[in-house]
Amino acid sequence: MAKRVLLAEDEPNIAESLTFLLDRAGFEVTVETDGRGALTSALDAPPDVLILDVMLPEVDGYEVLRQLRADRRAEGLPIVMLTAKGQKQDREAALERGADLFITKPFANSDIIAAVQELSEGRPKPVTAVSS
């Protein structure tokens, strides 16, 4: 069964290219174009990997990351942050908030695919139920 990738990216051309690449690499891809949708999607049906752009409408990527890391339904979800902001503080902000990886635009296609492959294979088993 194909591993699932949730791609939260509001730039349509980048989303299309990444969808093509991930599809060719054997992943099943779902695209969300705003932070609210990404959050809902990631919590309702946690994917194997989330690629999360920082600059998303509605709710930005940092906030999505923060909320996901605070929610046990998404525990262990590998998250790759994607942003055009390559400055040190952006990277630190993403990693401090719990991102697994931070990739800056422009990126090499092969880096994204390699990162997703690695994270999808190494992901710890997700917590799907919480006992009270």
């Binding site: 290219s17 705003d34 930005d60 906030e63 390559g86 400055q87 422009p106 090499a108």
Partner: protein, 464 residues
Amino acid sequence: MPDTIVGTRIRQRRREVGVGQAELAKKIGISPSYLNLIEWNKRRISPDLLRRTARALDLPADLLDGASESRLLETLTEIAHLPALEPLGVEREHTAELIGRFPGWAKAVAAMARSEREARAHANILSDRLSNDPFLSETVHHMLTRIAAVRSAADILSDYPDLPADRRERFSRMVHEESRSLSDVGEALAVYLDKAEEADRVMTPLDEVEALFEARDNHFSEIEAAAGALSDRLTDPRPIPRSTLARTLAEQNLTDPIAELIDGQSQVTTAAARKRAQKALLNYAVGAILMPLNAFGERAVALRYDAEALAQAFSAEIGSVCHRLTALPRRNDVPRFGYFRANAAGTIIEMLGLDGLALPRYASACPLWVLYRAQQAPETMIRQHASFPSGQRFVFVARARHTGVIGFGKPRHYVTDMIAMSEADAARTVYAPEPTTRAEDVGPTCRLCPRRSCVHRVEDPLAE
């Protein structure tokens, strides 16, 4: 080398116009086998034969002569040898073939590389300004996004030779669209930089005064010292407000020292700016007399920097308190405040900036800032937890107050005072946002704001 391209171009053109090899050979007076050798780049073509061939194929000779292709070849060869592209395994030996068979593609790649080189050059020039200029920061973000889209699509075209025709067409169009957007952003940036340089040379009086305050870190020790001596005289048996008395003391005692202070610095140069600086520093002095810094600092901590409570404690106007907050010493345990004052038209009439937060100088700011809506509810402190597209978060607190003469039947005019602080600093104040509330999305200005779905947008982003 150019001959290599010429043969391919002849073959391609001949097929385009539907002429057989034998037919063309006859027209130009050579044998089909010799034409075949030329077309497969096994023989060089003489200038005379090139002219005859161009005529027979209904093409200008210069399109076949290889001059423009030669330049393109040099460019692409250079690109193919870029160390950054080494891992891609670019087929350097097929560069001439690419130019001959797909001249449009070859030009697109060269144009993309040129755009990227220019964009990178711009980015290098601007790097030292990025952290303080939201315009430039956002523009670079747009550029990098466009470059990312171009690079990803171009790599797909290069790495997946089995792409179906419709997908190839789609990614090709993507490269074209994004390259054009990138070019537009680069052009807009160049225009912006020209304006910025011009504006730096001709600063407004407001800019000059702001520069003076910035150079002194919003703190004038000589005024503080002189004001301290005057604070003790803030007693008068007559029913005169303290603020009126403080202003009278400042005007009588500090007008000349302030003029001397302005004379001794370099930021304020024009007569209009001197007048404005004199007024701003007199206001500063009034604040210093009313709220001596040590006492103000201690009280501010106790009241958790509540501007209204401080105004009441020191019988001062809210605007003076907001201004005074910016003069607090720079220490790790003291929040840093910025201060903005706007009139009803939305014009900024005073600004003491904050690190990482600057109003656009060359366009309207974002209308979602609380600074612009506080006048809907005058005399009320309104807090805004603002989230910028860059991910930075600030807390803005604004209050509109009446100004000018008040009386029945007279129109009321308001100005808005706003203090700004980082989200982290706000935690030390009464303005700390509730942990459960979501920060409100705002932007720097429409032109550079990537929030496409914002209903308040009045201009498209530069990169559209």
